[in-house]
């Protein structure tokens, strides 16, 4: 059930005091959004579940610092995305030169202007279920899962989440040139498989 801003403020206050039911009610309307954002980056169910758990815990622990400068859902979503990025870095399958250089989970620490708006799940489900898009969506998800993780995360952050190249470079600790190279390889890989579908999209 969607909550009004006043109800949301009450839930945040109660959750900060340690009320787990209030925290559950605060999170639940956005749970699908948070999970989906993470899953798109990690493309693995178990990893997504683990990262979501980390993200939700970070939201809970960060709640006393939530100042309401952005929408709660935008702030919390950013924490979940950061949890996905951190999960990728801490994964044993991923070898990082600077393993200690983890991105911060708190969006207001690194990004003074986190996203102000997010797709609402109700509106989302309409487009999600449109028959003509379903085939392409499924194929895109399948193709994303085939991409090397370093390319997938850049593609998702740039082309799906609409982060700037500079923000991605800062968050990942790489140059903008590297971001563009990975982005190009990802787009190329996806287009090589799905170009006819994308050219049919009105």
């Amino acid at each position: 059930m969607p909550t009004t801003p006043a109800q949301q403020s009450d839930l945040i206050r109660l959750a900060v005091e340690g009320d787990s039911d209030a925290f559950g009610a605060l999170i639940h309307p956005h749970l699908s959004l948070f999970h989906h954002g993470i899953y798109r980056i990690l493309a693995n169910h178990q990893d997504a579940q683990d990262a979501l758990q980390d993200g939700l815990l970070a939201i809970y622990r960060g709640l006393p610092r939530f100042e309401g400068r952005s929408q709660f859902s935008s702030w919390a979503y950013r924490i979940c995305i950061n949890a996905a990025l951190m999960h990728r870095r801490s994964s044993r399958r991923y070898v990082e030169k600077n393993a200690s250089d983890f991105p911060s989970l708190d969006p207001e620490e690194e990004h003074p202007n986190p996203m102000e708006t997010l797709p609402e799940v109700a509106a989302a489900s309409e487009a999600y279920n449109q028959l003509e898009h379903r085939e392409l969506r499924d194929k895109l998800m399948e193709t994303l899962a085939l991409l090397p993780p370093s390319q997938r995360e850049v593609f998702v952050l740039r082309d799906i989440e609409d982060w700037s190249t500079e923000d991605i470079a800062t968050q990942l600790g790489v140059t903008t040139l590297v971001v563009r190279q990975r982005l190009h390889r990802a787009r190329d890989f996806i287009c090589a498989r799905l170009q006819p579908y994308f050219l049919r999209v009105p």
Binding site: Q46, Y60, D159, R187, D188
Partner: protein
């Protein structure tokens, strides 16, 4: 085969992201656009890149209902929150 001697198709294809991101120098952008206007081999790839950027976010919107794994993650966190609260009460 490109109808233009410069830049060649391979270079154009490799520069599509640079062109979309606006990071290519002005002269290069002009050459790329000129090539794309006339080259039937490169133009579809560029249009597909643009379409992907335009419809990707709509295609990958979240479903209305969260999957089981998301519900399980929330349950685990709520349990942890409860535990933290109980421990605080005991200590307090």
């Amino acid at each position: 085969m490109t109808p233009f001697p410069f830049p060649p198709c391979k270079e154009v294809h490799e520069s599509l992201t640079e062109l979309m991101e606006g990071s290519a120098p002005l002269y290069k952008r002009l050459m790329l656009r000129l090539h794309l206007a006339f080259c039937d081999a490169c133009r579809p790839a560029y249009l597909a890149f643009l379409a992907m950027r335009r419809v990707g976010p709509k295609l990958l919107l979240p479903p209305a209902d969260s999957p089981r794994e998301a519900e399980d993650a929330l349950k685990a966190v709520l349990k942890r929150v409860e535990q933290d609260r109980s421990e605080k009460k005991i200590k307090g």
